[in-house]
């Protein structure tokens, strides 16, 4: 529901990710982080929900 | 030149002309109602606006204001040394404010500009601001300004007071600042001073007659702080309160603020934000102790501050100009007029 609300508010679904990873699943953790990083990098910098530091 | 008339068709062009030297504020309408805001180019103030939900205090005292900054970059020579954010000295004019909002500025001034300390940010903004008020010809049901030493045509704190005369404004110029603004707009149609004053007096009396309030403050000064503080009615007054900050934020005379630091990358910024005595955090000690830990404490603080502490401290009347905004906006209808009367009428049995 949090993901849905964020998406509803205009946040790209591809920037939101939920996974179950056990503390024993180190490789899965690395894979998931890599996958998300690549996906998010492809999307470019996020402009929403980011505090504007110039103000 | 005490009085001038401004033809309404000259009004907007005059304001535009003044933009060369003034930043212009005035009532602006959007989906949340009317507020005093900076006027975007080509927009005229909504002069016939109803009472704005928020007062004009934010022109001098923004809800969030950067006051100091420092770099945290240790390679810089002046790292961790705070420097003031430049004060905003740009001349500005606030158009169409209600007279009580200008009077409120004078009460707030007692706090920000006193013999011991002067708040540089507020004072600079105050110096830079010209207040052009519009007399209130039809005061609303929440207006009780006449009962607290103000009124729909009060001149205190204003630089220009205008009256709406259908196709034109009649303006009374009250200060040098007012003169400068009138000159910047190019308004120069003089009006007969005697006649104009008579007109103002008639309008004022008409308007004052429409304010029906039985608010009395005469006996507040004669009571002791502790008697009023210990009065039995505070639980009752506070019951419905939800401790939101609405009353304090909409109030033109509430000046309390919080100071907060934030770090943005390698820059430290110190802000001040409006704060509210309704919040339990306002007085919460780091130890966990809270001298005003219950909502009854906090509700009592607000009314005691406005109606007694301020009165006793400054001897300038109560800290209320009768705008009625807190009455109109309170979600649970706590009415300062009722509370004031209860305080005024309270006789200790001790």
């Amino acid at each position: 529901m949090m993901g849905n609300l964020l998406e509803h508010m205009g946040i790209d679904r591809d920037r939101i990710h939920f996974s179950w990873i056990s503390s024993a699943e180190a490789t899965k953790f690395v894979d998931v982080v890599r996958e998300i990083s690549e996906k998010v990098r492809a999307l470019g910098p996020n402009k929403k929900f980011v505090k504007d530091y110039t103000k | 030149m005490n009085f001038i008339t401004i033809d309404k068709k000259d009004w907007a062009p005059g304001i535009d002309k003044s933009r060369k030297t003034f930043r212009v504020y005035g009532p602006v309408e959007d989906e949340n109602g009317c507020q005093i805001k900076p006027l975007a180019p080509d927009t005229a103030p909504k002069m016939d606006a109803p009472v704005t939900v928020m007062s004009a205090k934010s022109v001098l005292f923004p809800q969030t204001e950067k006051i100091l900054t420092a770099t945290l970059d240790e390679s810089k020579q002046d790292h961790h040394v705070m420097t003031p954010v430049e004060t905003d000295d740009m001349p500005r004019v606030v158009l169409g404010i209600r007279p009580y909002d200008a009077k409120a500025v004078q009460l707030v001034k007692l706090n920000f500009d006193n013999p011991d300390y002067q708040d540089p940010y507020w004072c600079a903004a105050y110096e830079a601001t010209t207040f052009v008020g519009l007399g209130v010809t039809h005061p609303g049901p929440c207006d009780f300004s006449t009962a607290v030493g103000c009124g729909p045509f009060s001149e205190e704190g204003l630089d220009v007071l205008m009256a709406d005369m259908d196709d034109k404004y009649l303006a009374k110029i009250l200060t040098k600042k007012g003169e400068n603004w009138v000159a910047a707009c190019g308004f120069d149609t003089e009006a007969d001073p005697k006649e104009s004053q008579v007109l103002f007096d008639v309008l004022r009396k008409e308007a004052e007659k429409q304010i029906q309030t039985d608010l009395a403050t005469d006996k507040l000064a004669g009571k002791t702080i502790l008697d009023l503080y210990d009065a039995p009615f505070w639980d009752d007054v506070a019951f419905s309160c939800i401790n939101c900050g609405t009353c304090t934020y909409v109030c033109p005379t509430c000046w309390c603020f919080d100071i907060q630091d934030e770090t943005r990358h390698n820059t430290a910024v110190r802000f001040r934000n409006w704060d509210t005595c309704m919040s339990s955090l306002f007085t919460h000690h780091a130890s966990g102790h809270n001298p005003r830990g219950t909502k009854v404490h906090r509700v009592r603080q607000r009314f005691m501050h406005k109606l007694k502490y301020f009165l006793d401290k400054y001897d300038q009347g109560i800290m209320c100009v009768g705008c009625g905004r807190c009455v109109a906006s309170c979600p649970v209808n706590i009415d300062i007029r009722e509370v004031c009367n209860r305080m005024n009428d309270y006789e200790t049995t001790k």
């Binding site: - | 945290l72 705070m82 003031p84 300390y117 002791t224 630091d261 000690h285 603080q301």
Partner: protein, 281 residues
């Protein structure tokens, strides 16, 4: 226009763990611009805002004394965001100090008077400042008898222990050091709570005797009756209060007790004054 929010830059010159539980540290600051030290001229009993850029400010009583030059000292209890950050800072780090703020103990009024100083726990900082000030050779003759009652939970929780024991040896000040309890068989001072030690050891009041009380609320609450028993009138009992503060200059509005602002009209009040205000501290 002076900007009262602008702190003077200072460097942390020394950090000393002040109590055995490490919850208190004494920080010695040196002004980055020597001229600022003069502007910071203070009297014993005043406080200042310790100001850490990007973190925040905290109002702390000045523990050094006006007669000590070249530095200012503050003893800080670790409790909130700013104090925790401060406890983690290092010697040499830069930060700011804003002040001096508030009023001070009424030194003019106290001239030619007997002064009884009563403190408990870590509320001894401005009292230390006061004692050092009074014991200064230039000032000692201005005051008659000086008595000090100071208590803490245990010997290791006493602040400024070495100074306390030095003062104990002097004959121009009567020290009554006490701890709530100790298992140290060599403890040669009092054991017991401050109010009881006051009742048993503080001088009986005459019109020339004043008591300065600073400590946790519970100690203040129980010391008052002890002083009353000894004949102290409300105007002879001087107290230093604390409340949550932000601006320190009487503008931000949160620290009031009745119409008095603790930061500007206080923090020092007589009991007589406090009796006129709501007890919102």
């Amino acid at each position: 226009m002076e900007n009262p929010y602008l702190p003077y830059p200072v460097r942390i010159d020394d950090i000393e763990v002040a109590t055995e539980d490490k919850s208190l540290k004494t920080f010695t600051f040196v002004f980055v611009n020597p001229a600022d030290e003069e502007k910071f001229a203070y009297k014993a009993g005043q406080f200042a805002e310790l100001s850490i850029p990007g973190v925040g400010e905290i109002p702390i009583g000045i523990a050094s004394s006006p007669v000590e030059k070249g530095f200012v000292k503050f003893t800080v209890f670790r409790t909130g965001v700013v104090t925790t950050h401060l406890h983690n800072m290092k010697k040499g780090d830069l930060m700011g100090i804003r002040g001096p703020l508030g009023n001070w103990y009424p030194w003019d009024k106290l001239e030619n008077k007997n002064v009884v100083i009563i403190g408990g726990g870590f509320a001894f900082t401005t009292l230390r400042s006061s004692i050092v000030y009074m014991l200064d050779p230039a000032n000692r003759k201005k005051f008659k008898n000086i008595d000090v009652v100071y208590g803490a939970r245990s010997p290791g929780m006493l602040l400024y222990r070495e100074e306390l024991f030095d003062w104990e040896k002097r004959d121009d000040i009567n020290m009554h050091i006490t701890v709530d309890g100790t298992d140290d068989p060599d403890w040669k001072y009092h054991t017991g709570f401050v109010p009881q030690v006051v009742e048993d050891n503080a001088p009986v009041a005459d019109e020339d005797t004043y008591a300065i009380v600073c400590g946790p609320p519970i100690m203040i609450k129980f010391t008052q009756p002890a002083l009353t028993k000894l004949g102290y009138q409300p105007h002879q009992i001087i107290m230093s209060l604390e409340n949550r503060m932000k601006c320190g200059i009487g503008m931000c509005g949160r620290c009031n007790i009745g119409k008095e602002l603790v930061c500007k009209d206080g923090p020092v009040f007589t009991l007589e004054e406090i009796n006129q205000t709501p007890k919102e501290y």
